[in-house]
Amino acid sequence: MTNQNGRFGVHGGQYIPETLMNAVIELEEAYNHYKEDAQFNRELTDLFNDYAGRPSRLYYARKMSEDLGGAKIYLKREDLNHTGSHKINNVLGQALLAKKMGKTRLIAETGAGQHGVATATAAALMGMECVVFMGEEDTIRQALNVYRMRLLGAEVVPVKTGTGTLKDAVSETMREWTSRIADTHYCLGSVMGPHPFPTIVRDFQAVISREMKAQLMEKEGRLPDAVIACVGGGSNAMGSFYHFIEEENVRLIGCEAAGRGIDTFETAATISTGRLGIFHGMKSYFCQDAYGQIAPVYSISAGLDYPGIGPEHAYLHDTGRAEYVPVTDEEAVEAFEYLSRTEGIIPAIESAHAIAYATKIAPVMEKEQIIVITISGRGDKDCAAIARYRGEDIHD
């Protein structure tokens, strides 16, 4: 899918300071070498299976399907991975690659803390130093994850600049990388940033749709009618979509965080409210004002609270191959509670955006149709925030 210069249609590219150019060129060369390397792939598969607990389950949500009264619903259980989300897939791949490149230090941004925890975990496992940059606002929203990262031996740096959320954490990690490159790999957490990151992260996350396809063929003997995943930068969605892109009868649906609504300023729905721009190393869609100043976005979900979207998603939107829909805080919180009650599964508030949209379309689909929802992470981390949203004051 990727063109020569990391382009997906007009999107992608490498809009970064000259200081980082040789680093991304070196990364691309290393990745192109190791992705074909049998030993590397064996090691990665062992880590996926024995350490992260892959393959993740494809679970038939019988009660939810019956309750909604339409399509059969399957849940791809990335929440059951070690560290509690899909983030570990990409992190194990990048950490192993960084190690092969001779790097001894990983730096990463994090929003909800899931990517930070996964990076801290891989660093501990591989004996690497780790520094995680996290928006100050998010260190408060996700205090438990800050503790987890420190427990794993990582240093957590609260980012006070800008809005103190995910975009500022990305900016600060980029700044850190320009100051220390020789021993340091930037373990970027989503299908975004400069080439080759969108391609590398997609490839490591593509294990989700590869398994999904095989598991559904085994259980149902057919492909799904729709695959639904939440989208911030878009890594779990890209991983969930990838092996279905060529299967034109499979609807691919990305659920963006609409926050308090796409007609308000408190939203993070990039496709619905953004326009084409250049930021964080890539050309893609961004929430921005008339002069190109990046907008302060909002979502109840710290993991989707990002003003852009990965370039391959922007391309899938342009071509119409994938659909992107906004889901509000209120709808996501209702879905969070619904899945907990109905299936005994507490999803991450990020994943709840995908569940919310599935509850809208499943009832109007035929009973023999199949929806797969990616549960990108587990929701333990969100319980305190959701309780607060509902007016209950509990401590993490």
Binding site: G13, E18, M21, D168, T178, S179, I278, G281, G292
Partner: protein, 259 residues
Amino acid sequence: MTRIQRAFDNQKAFIAFITCGDPDLQTTAACVRAAVEGGADLIELGIPFSDPTAEGPVIQGANLRALTGGVTTDQIFDLVRNLRRDVEVPMVFMTYANVVFSYGAERFIATCKEIGMDGIILPDLPYEEKEEFLPLCHTYGVDLISLVAPTSEKRIAMIAREAEGFLYIVSSLGVTGTRSEIKTDLESIVEVVRQNTDIPCAIGFGISTPEQAAKMAGIADGAIVGSAIVKLIEKYGKEAPAYVKAYVKSMKDAITDVT
């Protein structure tokens, strides 16, 4: 000879950076005139961006103050129109790719020409992406300034061969900001630059003292100072122009006798 070439003609150039709209555009205009009176040979005007990923805390702060004050690209174009009534030194914009792209690249670059800007520096537009704006810069005769960094290594020759206006040599790893020491082997970088281009080169990032400026001007054709000036503006606000003039004079004096 272009205005930029004249700034380097038979002398070492002192280049002053100022963030537009920090704390307001009137102060910016006064600071630019003060810098010119102090001896600045070229002015870099920063158009603030919400997320300046190449800047350290000092210039980040200036960007934030300017945007909080409500400054826009159109107001900055008006500032330049005003300045060009009497300011004759070359001026270049320093901003981020999205500010140009979002305004409409052609509209932005055509306006640069119309109001008398000589070039544009975009720290997030490396060699590989310069086609984004270069053809328009050629159409309108605005120089797209290239940067080389301590990590550029084999890329230096490639970048220098196609560089226009002047070449911006980034002195150190990391973001903008004052540094007590600059350790990069800048002599070697400048040597490669000179083998590959006739245009002048100036060193920036981390320079704040007259001694550093003299040393950098000894290696290259000029020195660029940003954060140290922005710090004065942060500290003295509307009273800053007098301090900027005195500071620029001390820096220009330090490089005047350098050969």
